[in-house]
Protein backbone atom coordinates (compact mmCIF):
# COMPACT_ATOMS: atom_id res chain seq x y z
CA UNK A 1 0.00 0.00 0.00
CA UNK A 2 2.79 2.36 1.00
CA UNK A 3 4.69 1.54 -2.18
CA UNK A 4 1.70 2.31 -4.30
CA UNK A 5 1.26 5.66 -2.63
CA UNK A 6 4.95 6.39 -3.01
CA UNK A 7 4.85 5.43 -6.68
CA UNK A 8 1.87 7.72 -7.09
CA UNK A 9 3.82 10.55 -5.53
CA UNK A 10 6.85 9.94 -7.74
CA UNK A 11 4.56 9.83 -10.75
CA UNK A 12 3.07 13.12 -9.76
CA UNK A 13 6.49 14.72 -9.38
CA UNK A 14 7.65 13.32 -12.74
CA UNK A 15 4.52 14.55 -14.44
CA UNK A 16 5.16 17.87 -12.80
CA UNK A 17 8.70 17.93 -14.17
CA UNK A 18 7.53 17.45 -17.70
CA UNK A 19 4.91 20.09 -17.42
CA UNK A 20 7.30 22.58 -15.92
CA UNK A 21 10.05 22.05 -18.39
CA UNK A 22 9.35 25.62 -19.41
CA UNK A 23 10.65 26.96 -16.13
CA UNK A 24 13.89 25.06 -16.64
CA UNK A 25 14.14 26.54 -20.10
CA UNK A 26 13.83 29.87 -18.35
CA UNK A 27 16.83 29.14 -16.14
CA UNK A 28 18.92 27.56 -18.89
CA UNK A 29 20.38 30.85 -20.22
CA UNK A 30 21.89 31.27 -16.76
CA UNK A 31 23.67 27.91 -16.77
CA UNK A 32 26.75 28.93 -18.80
CA UNK A 33 27.09 31.84 -16.40
CA UNK A 34 27.41 29.39 -13.50
CA UNK A 35 30.84 28.52 -14.85
CA UNK A 36 32.06 32.07 -14.75
CA UNK A 37 31.12 32.60 -11.11
CA UNK A 38 34.61 32.14 -9.74
CA UNK A 39 36.01 35.40 -11.07
CA UNK A 40 37.57 36.68 -7.89
CA UNK A 41 38.26 40.18 -9.17
CA UNK A 42 38.49 43.01 -6.74
CA UNK A 43 35.57 45.27 -6.12
CA UNK A 44 35.93 48.89 -7.15
CA UNK A 45 35.22 51.25 -4.26
CA UNK A 46 33.73 54.68 -4.97
CA UNK A 47 32.56 57.29 -2.52
CA UNK A 48 30.49 60.43 -2.57
CA UNK A 49 28.60 62.72 -0.24
CA UNK A 50 25.20 64.36 -0.36
CA UNK A 51 25.48 67.95 0.80
CA UNK A 52 23.37 71.03 0.11
CA UNK A 53 21.16 68.76 -1.99
CA UNK A 54 24.00 67.92 -4.36
CA UNK A 55 26.16 64.89 -4.92
CA UNK A 56 29.86 65.50 -4.52
CA UNK A 57 31.24 64.35 -6.88
CA UNK A 58 28.21 64.29 -9.16
CA UNK A 59 30.04 62.11 -11.65
CA UNK A 60 31.63 58.78 -10.74
CA UNK A 61 33.80 56.55 -12.91
CA UNK A 62 34.20 52.78 -12.77
CA UNK A 63 35.75 50.19 -15.09
CA UNK A 64 33.36 47.83 -16.91
CA UNK A 65 32.76 44.26 -15.81
CA UNK A 66 33.76 44.69 -12.18
CA UNK A 67 31.58 44.78 -9.11
CA UNK A 68 31.32 48.25 -7.56
CA UNK A 69 30.89 49.40 -3.99
CA UNK A 70 29.46 52.90 -3.55
CA UNK A 71 29.93 54.62 -0.20
CA UNK A 72 27.41 57.43 0.24
CA UNK A 73 27.51 59.82 3.16
CA UNK A 74 24.49 62.01 3.85
CA UNK A 75 25.61 65.45 5.07
CA UNK A 76 22.20 67.02 4.41
CA UNK A 77 20.19 67.90 7.53
CA UNK A 78 17.43 65.64 6.13
CA UNK A 79 16.99 61.95 5.37
CA UNK A 80 17.83 60.87 1.81
CA UNK A 81 17.08 57.90 -0.37
CA UNK A 82 19.95 57.07 -2.69
CA UNK A 83 18.33 55.49 -5.72
CA UNK A 84 19.06 54.49 -9.29
CA UNK A 85 16.61 52.93 -11.71
CA UNK A 86 19.48 52.30 -14.14
CA UNK A 87 21.50 50.41 -11.54
CA UNK A 88 18.50 48.91 -9.73
CA UNK A 89 19.28 50.07 -6.24
CA UNK A 90 17.67 52.09 -3.49
CA UNK A 91 18.77 52.78 0.02
CA UNK A 92 17.63 55.15 2.71
CA UNK A 93 20.47 57.12 4.27
CA UNK A 94 19.69 58.77 7.61
CA UNK A 95 21.14 62.16 8.49
CA UNK A 96 24.91 62.05 9.04
CA UNK A 97 25.19 58.35 8.19
CA UNK A 98 27.23 56.56 5.56
CA UNK A 99 25.79 53.71 3.54
CA UNK A 100 27.56 51.14 1.42
CA UNK A 101 25.78 49.80 -1.67
CA UNK A 102 27.02 46.98 -3.84
CA UNK A 103 26.48 47.30 -7.57
CA UNK A 104 26.84 44.31 -9.86
CA UNK A 105 29.37 44.52 -12.73
CA UNK A 106 28.19 46.90 -15.43
CA UNK A 107 28.52 47.19 -19.19
CA UNK A 108 29.92 50.45 -20.59
CA UNK A 109 27.35 53.23 -20.37
CA UNK A 110 26.04 56.16 -18.35
CA UNK A 111 23.97 55.30 -15.32
CA UNK A 112 21.97 58.01 -13.56
CA UNK A 113 21.39 58.05 -9.84
CA UNK A 114 19.43 60.47 -7.66
CA UNK A 115 18.08 61.25 -4.22
CA UNK A 116 14.53 59.95 -4.43
CA UNK A 117 13.37 62.25 -1.64
CA UNK A 118 14.89 65.30 -3.37
CA UNK A 119 14.79 64.67 -7.09
CA UNK A 120 16.86 67.77 -7.92
CA UNK A 121 19.88 65.90 -6.49
CA UNK A 122 21.20 64.05 -9.56
CA UNK A 123 24.42 62.24 -10.43
CA UNK A 124 25.82 59.83 -12.97
CA UNK A 125 28.09 56.79 -12.97
CA UNK A 126 30.17 56.57 -16.13
CA UNK A 127 31.49 53.19 -17.23
CA UNK A 128 33.82 53.69 -20.23
Amino acid sequence: MAEIRLAGMVNRICAFDRRHFLSFLLISPALPLLVSVARGEDTVALSLTIKDRQFDPAELHAPPGRAIEIHVKNLNPIVSEFESSDLHLEKIIPVGKEAVIRVRPQQPGRYNFFDDFHRETQGVLVVP
Binding site: M9, R12, I13, F16, H20, S23, F24, L26, I27, P29, A30, L33, L34, S36, V37, A67, E69, P77, I78, V79, E81, S85, H88, L89, K91, I92, I93, P94, V95, K97, E98, A99, V100, I101, R102, R104, P105, Q107, D116, F117, R119
Partner: protein
Protein backbone atom coordinates in the same frame (compact mmCIF):
# COMPACT_ATOMS: atom_id res chain seq x y z
CA UNK B 1 2.87 69.16 -2.84
CA UNK B 2 3.55 67.35 -6.10
CA UNK B 3 6.57 65.51 -4.67
CA UNK B 4 4.44 64.33 -1.75
CA UNK B 5 1.66 63.24 -4.09
CA UNK B 6 4.05 61.33 -6.35
CA UNK B 7 5.91 59.53 -3.56
CA UNK B 8 2.80 58.67 -1.55
CA UNK B 9 0.91 57.53 -4.64
CA UNK B 10 3.79 55.36 -5.83
CA UNK B 11 4.07 53.54 -2.52
CA UNK B 12 0.33 53.25 -1.87
CA UNK B 13 -0.14 52.07 -5.45
CA UNK B 14 2.15 49.08 -4.91
CA UNK B 15 0.54 48.11 -1.63
CA UNK B 16 -2.90 48.77 -3.20
CA UNK B 17 -2.34 46.20 -5.94
CA UNK B 18 -1.53 43.55 -3.36
CA UNK B 19 -4.48 44.46 -1.13
CA UNK B 20 -6.77 44.38 -4.19
CA UNK B 21 -5.65 40.85 -5.00
CA UNK B 22 -6.08 39.71 -1.41
CA UNK B 23 -9.59 41.18 -1.34
CA UNK B 24 -10.50 39.31 -4.53
CA UNK B 25 -8.98 36.07 -3.21
CA UNK B 26 -11.03 36.27 -0.03
CA UNK B 27 -14.32 37.20 -1.67
CA UNK B 28 -17.19 35.74 0.30
CA UNK B 29 -15.09 34.50 3.24
CA UNK B 30 -16.61 35.56 6.53
CA UNK B 31 -14.61 38.01 8.62
CA UNK B 32 -12.27 39.02 5.82
CA UNK B 33 -12.90 42.75 6.27
CA UNK B 34 -11.63 42.56 9.85
CA UNK B 35 -8.56 40.53 8.85
CA UNK B 36 -7.60 42.76 5.94
CA UNK B 37 -8.13 46.03 7.79
CA UNK B 38 -6.23 44.49 10.70
CA UNK B 39 -3.38 43.78 8.30
CA UNK B 40 -3.44 47.35 7.01
CA UNK B 41 -3.48 48.78 10.54
CA UNK B 42 -0.61 46.55 11.65
CA UNK B 43 1.29 47.58 8.53
CA UNK B 44 0.80 51.30 9.17
CA UNK B 45 1.89 50.96 12.80
CA UNK B 46 4.84 48.82 11.73
CA UNK B 47 5.81 51.43 9.12
CA UNK B 48 5.90 54.14 11.78
CA UNK B 49 8.03 51.96 14.07
CA UNK B 50 10.43 51.11 11.23
CA UNK B 51 10.65 54.79 10.22
CA UNK B 52 11.48 55.82 13.80
CA UNK B 53 14.21 53.19 14.08
CA UNK B 54 15.59 53.55 10.53
CA UNK B 55 18.84 55.04 11.71
CA UNK B 56 19.48 52.18 14.13
CA UNK B 57 18.18 49.59 11.68
CA UNK B 58 20.46 50.68 8.87
CA UNK B 59 23.52 50.36 11.12
CA UNK B 60 22.82 46.69 11.83
CA UNK B 61 24.71 43.87 10.08
CA UNK B 62 27.60 46.12 9.11
CA UNK B 63 25.38 48.80 7.57
CA UNK B 64 23.13 46.41 5.66
CA UNK B 65 20.29 46.30 8.20
CA UNK B 66 17.73 47.77 5.77
CA UNK B 67 18.45 45.21 3.09
CA UNK B 68 18.47 42.28 5.52
CA UNK B 69 15.21 43.50 7.08
CA UNK B 70 13.53 43.97 3.70
CA UNK B 71 14.72 40.60 2.44
CA UNK B 72 13.53 39.01 5.70
CA UNK B 73 9.99 40.35 5.61
CA UNK B 74 9.73 39.63 1.88
CA UNK B 75 10.83 36.06 2.54
CA UNK B 76 8.19 35.81 5.27
CA UNK B 77 5.51 37.09 2.87
CA UNK B 78 6.62 34.49 0.29
CA UNK B 79 6.11 31.75 2.89
CA UNK B 80 2.66 33.08 3.77
CA UNK B 81 1.60 33.27 0.10
CA UNK B 82 2.91 29.75 -0.52
CA UNK B 83 1.09 28.46 2.50
CA UNK B 84 -2.12 30.14 1.38
CA UNK B 85 -1.95 28.62 -2.09
CA UNK B 86 -1.21 25.14 -0.75
CA UNK B 87 -4.01 25.46 1.77
CA UNK B 88 -6.44 26.60 -0.92
CA UNK B 89 -5.44 23.79 -3.27
CA UNK B 90 -6.52 21.40 -0.53
CA UNK B 91 -9.57 23.18 0.85
CA UNK B 92 -10.54 25.65 -1.83
CA UNK B 93 -13.12 23.44 -3.44
CA UNK B 94 -14.78 22.53 -0.13
CA UNK B 95 -14.73 26.17 0.81
CA UNK B 96 -16.45 27.19 -2.40
CA UNK B 97 -19.03 24.43 -2.00
CA UNK B 98 -19.63 25.43 1.60
CA UNK B 99 -19.91 29.05 0.62
CA UNK B 100 -22.57 28.26 -1.91
CA UNK B 101 -24.38 25.94 0.46
CA UNK B 102 -24.17 27.91 3.68
CA UNK B 103 -23.96 31.47 2.50
CA UNK B 104 -22.27 33.56 5.14
CA UNK B 105 -21.86 30.95 7.85
CA UNK B 106 -18.32 29.90 7.10
CA UNK B 107 -15.59 29.82 9.69
CA UNK B 108 -13.19 27.76 7.61
CA UNK B 109 -10.53 29.79 5.92
CA UNK B 110 -9.68 31.93 8.91
CA UNK B 111 -6.24 30.31 9.11
CA UNK B 112 -5.59 31.23 5.54
CA UNK B 113 -6.91 34.71 6.28
CA UNK B 114 -4.20 35.16 8.89
CA UNK B 115 -1.55 34.36 6.27
CA UNK B 116 -3.05 36.88 3.86
CA UNK B 117 -3.45 39.51 6.59
CA UNK B 118 0.30 39.13 7.26
CA UNK B 119 1.00 39.59 3.54
CA UNK B 120 -1.08 42.80 3.56
CA UNK B 121 0.72 44.01 6.70
CA UNK B 122 4.13 43.36 5.12
CA UNK B 123 3.16 45.18 1.91
CA UNK B 124 1.86 48.21 3.81
CA UNK B 125 4.85 48.22 6.16
CA UNK B 126 7.39 48.11 3.35
CA UNK B 127 5.82 50.83 1.25
CA UNK B 128 4.55 52.82 4.22
CA UNK B 129 7.85 53.25 6.04
CA UNK B 130 9.23 55.15 3.05
CA UNK B 131 6.18 57.43 2.99
CA UNK B 132 6.50 58.12 6.72
CA UNK B 133 10.24 58.87 6.39
CA UNK B 134 9.68 61.20 3.47
CA UNK B 135 6.77 63.12 4.98
CA UNK B 136 8.42 63.50 8.38
CA UNK B 137 11.71 64.43 6.75
CA UNK B 138 10.08 67.22 4.78
CA UNK B 139 8.00 68.34 7.75
CA UNK B 140 11.12 68.45 9.92
CA UNK B 141 13.04 70.44 7.31
CA UNK B 142 10.20 72.94 6.98
CA UNK B 143 9.92 73.22 10.75
CA UNK B 144 6.40 71.79 10.78
CA UNK B 145 3.91 70.25 8.41
CA UNK B 146 2.31 72.35 5.72
CA UNK B 147 -1.09 72.14 4.13
CA UNK B 148 0.49 71.50 0.73
CA UNK B 149 2.29 68.48 2.16
CA UNK B 150 -0.83 67.12 3.82
CA UNK B 151 -2.92 67.75 0.69
CA UNK B 152 -0.33 66.07 -1.54
CA UNK B 153 -0.04 63.08 0.76
CA UNK B 154 -3.79 62.75 1.03
CA UNK B 155 -4.30 62.99 -2.74
CA UNK B 156 -1.63 60.29 -3.20
CA UNK B 157 -3.35 58.06 -0.66
CA UNK B 158 -6.72 58.56 -2.37
CA UNK B 159 -5.34 57.76 -5.84
CA UNK B 160 -3.53 54.71 -4.46
CA UNK B 161 -6.73 53.47 -2.84
CA UNK B 162 -8.46 53.85 -6.18
CA UNK B 163 -5.90 51.46 -7.69
CA UNK B 164 -6.70 48.97 -4.92
CA UNK B 165 -10.43 49.25 -5.66
CA UNK B 166 -9.92 48.90 -9.44
CA UNK B 167 -7.73 45.81 -8.96
CA UNK B 168 -10.40 44.27 -6.77
CA UNK B 169 -13.29 45.10 -9.10
CA UNK B 170 -11.26 43.97 -12.12
CA UNK B 171 -10.62 40.57 -10.58
CA UNK B 172 -14.23 40.28 -9.44
CA UNK B 173 -15.40 40.67 -13.02
CA UNK B 174 -13.76 37.33 -13.78
CA UNK B 175 -16.41 34.55 -13.80
CA UNK B 176 -16.34 32.79 -10.43
CA UNK B 177 -15.42 29.38 -11.86
CA UNK B 178 -12.16 30.85 -13.22
CA UNK B 179 -11.51 33.17 -10.28
CA UNK B 180 -9.91 30.45 -8.14
CA UNK B 181 -7.43 29.49 -10.86
CA UNK B 182 -6.63 33.08 -11.75
CA UNK B 183 -6.03 34.16 -8.15
CA UNK B 184 -3.90 31.07 -7.43
CA UNK B 185 -1.70 31.97 -10.40
CA UNK B 186 -1.57 35.63 -9.31
CA UNK B 187 -0.54 34.68 -5.77
CA UNK B 188 2.17 32.32 -7.05
CA UNK B 189 3.58 35.02 -9.37
CA UNK B 190 3.38 37.58 -6.56
CA UNK B 191 5.37 35.23 -4.32
CA UNK B 192 7.99 34.51 -7.00
CA UNK B 193 8.41 38.24 -7.65
CA UNK B 194 8.84 38.92 -3.93
CA UNK B 195 11.43 36.15 -3.63
CA UNK B 196 13.43 37.65 -6.51
CA UNK B 197 13.10 41.09 -4.90
CA UNK B 198 14.47 39.68 -1.64
CA UNK B 199 17.48 38.39 -3.59
CA UNK B 200 17.95 41.86 -5.11
CA UNK B 201 18.18 43.31 -1.60
CA UNK B 202 20.71 40.67 -0.54
CA UNK B 203 22.74 41.41 -3.67
CA UNK B 204 22.73 45.12 -2.86
CA UNK B 205 23.93 44.25 0.65
CA UNK B 206 26.80 42.18 -0.77
CA UNK B 207 25.46 39.08 0.98
CA UNK B 208 24.52 37.24 -2.23
CA UNK B 209 27.20 37.76 -4.87
CA UNK B 210 26.99 34.56 -6.91
CA UNK B 211 25.35 34.69 -10.36
CA UNK B 212 25.26 38.46 -10.39
CA UNK B 213 25.48 38.75 -14.18
CA UNK B 214 22.62 40.50 -15.93
CA UNK B 215 20.73 37.83 -17.88
CA UNK B 216 18.71 40.04 -20.19
CA UNK B 217 17.95 43.69 -20.77
CA UNK B 218 14.41 44.56 -21.76
CA UNK B 219 14.64 48.17 -20.60
CA UNK B 220 14.29 49.27 -24.24
CA UNK B 221 10.83 47.68 -24.31
CA UNK B 222 9.63 48.46 -20.81
CA UNK B 223 11.62 50.09 -18.05
CA UNK B 224 10.79 48.70 -14.62
CA UNK B 225 10.84 52.24 -13.26
CA UNK B 226 7.98 53.29 -15.56
CA UNK B 227 4.38 53.24 -14.38
CA UNK B 228 3.45 50.00 -16.16
CA UNK B 229 6.84 48.54 -15.27
CA UNK B 230 6.23 49.22 -11.59
CA UNK B 231 2.80 47.64 -11.73
CA UNK B 232 4.19 44.53 -13.42
CA UNK B 233 7.09 44.52 -10.97
CA UNK B 234 4.68 44.36 -8.05
CA UNK B 235 2.31 41.89 -9.69
CA UNK B 236 4.59 39.38 -11.40
CA UNK B 237 8.06 40.56 -10.38
CA UNK B 238 8.99 42.09 -13.73
CA UNK B 239 12.59 43.37 -13.75
CA UNK B 240 14.16 44.81 -16.91
CA UNK B 241 17.70 43.67 -16.03
CA UNK B 242 17.52 40.68 -13.70
CA UNK B 243 20.61 38.94 -12.41
CA UNK B 244 20.96 35.21 -13.03
CA UNK B 245 20.36 34.58 -9.32
CA UNK B 246 17.09 36.52 -9.40
CA UNK B 247 15.86 34.48 -12.38
CA UNK B 248 16.87 31.20 -10.73
CA UNK B 249 15.12 32.08 -7.46
CA UNK B 250 12.03 33.29 -9.33
CA UNK B 251 11.74 30.03 -11.30
CA UNK B 252 12.53 27.96 -8.21
CA UNK B 253 9.82 29.67 -6.14
CA UNK B 254 7.21 29.13 -8.86
CA UNK B 255 8.22 25.50 -9.24
CA UNK B 256 8.17 24.80 -5.51
CA UNK B 257 4.74 26.39 -5.10
CA UNK B 258 3.34 24.45 -8.08
CA UNK B 259 4.84 21.21 -6.75
CA UNK B 260 3.51 21.71 -3.22
CA UNK B 261 0.06 22.59 -4.57
CA UNK B 262 0.10 19.41 -6.62
CA UNK B 263 1.34 17.23 -3.76
CA UNK B 264 -1.17 18.54 -1.27
CA UNK B 265 -4.07 18.90 -3.67
CA UNK B 266 -7.38 17.49 -2.48
CA UNK B 267 -7.80 13.93 -3.80
CA UNK B 268 -10.20 13.77 -6.71
CA UNK B 269 -13.33 12.16 -5.30
CA UNK B 270 -16.58 11.67 -7.08
CA UNK B 271 -18.80 13.24 -4.53
CA UNK B 272 -22.25 14.33 -5.56
CA UNK B 273 -22.24 18.05 -6.17
CA UNK B 274 -23.73 20.26 -3.55
CA UNK B 275 -27.04 21.45 -4.85
Amino acid sequence: MLAALVIVFREVFEAGLIIGIVMAVTTGVAGRAAWISGGVTAGVLGACVVAVFTSGLSQLFGGTGQEVFNAGILGFAVLMLTWHNVWMSRHGRELMAELRAAGEAVVAGSKSLLALAIVVAVAVLREGSEVVLFLFGVAAAQGGGSWALVAGGFAGLLLGSLVCLLTYLGLLSIPSRYLFGVTSALIALLAAGMAAQAIAFLEQANIVTALDQTVWDTSWILRDSSFLGRALHTLIGYVDQPTAMQVVVYALTLSVIAMLMKLFAAPQTHRPRAA
